[in-house]
Symmetry: C2
Subunit: 242 residues, 2 copies
């Protein structure tokens, strides 16, 4: 019986354990993605905690005692971007002992997708907060490089299955913008005509009858995202042809 401590089904031992060795701090780290200049970017802050001074860090905070995990993530997101009601979802928990130099901290990573244009600079920490292209992020604090990596892989999987790419674009976007977004996030080259055919069969695009302005060529039509859960049968997997 050294393998597992079944005393934990005894209430007194539970109480004891709950108050001693098993306690840890709980945090949430938000991986906030944006899309700008044909690049997938992530919002990071310069860390000032030893031994990671100067390294980049995800936006995280401890979870408050009266708060659930989703609420904590929403609070962090709101505080950093000023945004409410944006795409926000838990990815998974990271809890290696030793992942935090000050003690045991279990962190839930959340992914958020925001329309970068809607983002208000709330950089109360004097310029320590910046968008970084995901493929140009150098060293990170804690295990945040791993968290970012896992979360990015998660996003790549998810965007193939569900129509969430829109969350990263302005409310009105062109089909080329949308295609570029997919090409960049998935690191593939897509066929324009096939991409459009697939998308229109999904029925989530709404032609809003407007066009681009101020471009020195034929303006592209603008679309918006119409939630329309009709034909999600095959997801978007087949957008991809290598």
């Amino acid at each position: 019986m050294s393998e597992a401590n079944f005393k934990t089904e005894n209430i007194n031992t539970w109480i004891t354990e709950l108050n001693t060795e098993a306690k840890a701090a709980i945090s949430v780290d938000c991986v906030i993605f944006g899309y700008e200049d044909n690049q997938l970017k992530v919002l990071l802050i310069e860390c000032n905690m030893p031994p990671f001074e100067g390294k980049l860090s995800l936006l995280g905070d401890l979870v408050k005692s009266n708060e659930n995990l989703d609420e904590a993530a929403a609070r962090i997101l709101k505080a950093r971007t000023g945004l409410n009601n944006v795409y926000l979802e838990q990815v998974r928990a990271f809890g290696d002992p030793g992942r935090h130099p000050l003690g045991r901290v279990i962190s839930m990573s959340y992914v958020s997708l925001i329309k970068i244009q809607d983002y208000e600079v709330l950089d109360i920490d004097q310029k320590r907060l910046k968008w970084f292209p995901v493929d140009q992020v150098e060293e990170m604090a804690f295990d945040h490089a791993k968290i970012l990596n896992v979360t990015l892989n998660w996003l790549q999987d998810r965007i193939k299955e569900r129509p969430i790419g829109f969350e990263l674009l302005p409310k009105k976007f062109t089909l080329i913008q949308l295609q570029n977004l997919y090409e960049i996030i998935l690191n593939v080259k897509l066929d324009k005509r096939n991409f459009r055919r697939k998308l229109s069969s999904l029925g989530v695009l709404k032609d809003i009858g407007e066009s681009q302005k101020d471009v020195a060529h034929r303006p592209a039509k603008l679309y918006s995202f119409a939630e329309n859960r009709s034909e999600q049968k095959n997801g978007l997997s087949s957008l991809i042809n290598f």
Copy 2:
């Protein structure tokens, strides 16, 4: 500034917070699935902690201070089933305040798929441990009904994308068994010929040249799972025709 506590980037406040309100107990709850008698079953234990005495509970334990989350899950699984090296994956974290009557406990749910025939009864707690068909689980302790529900949905999504159904069957199985498994987990009716064609195109089935014994009819051929990551392009989604 009332929205988020940015003092957490100050090391002294971090240390303070890490040692006061933000601490919580960390646990892992394993949702251990098995498949038997044409039913998807989950291994549960009768809870003896007030106020949930007599209710059913997932198999969980506190995470030890020197242990990471995956290790904790593997330990619990080993202790309860005697099994090592089986399918085990983190699903997500549950951390509502108040989810545990004795204080704040953050729990990571893990899903495990086991070949129920390999399971050794390690019921040191006198018969409180039992397999329950997932659709016949009545009241559960804590928020375990929610955890079970989320995890089951996760399994249903995942089994459509990756060839993990095998994990629930004996090493040698028939195609009909495999089809039944999918039908029951996904709650759909599948076409025998289409199911087989799709599966053989995936290239993960190995005909082991044996057949069923002791059946009063034509015996079915036995197959085993051959890890063969060739053609996972479309997953198994198209197994399904409604």
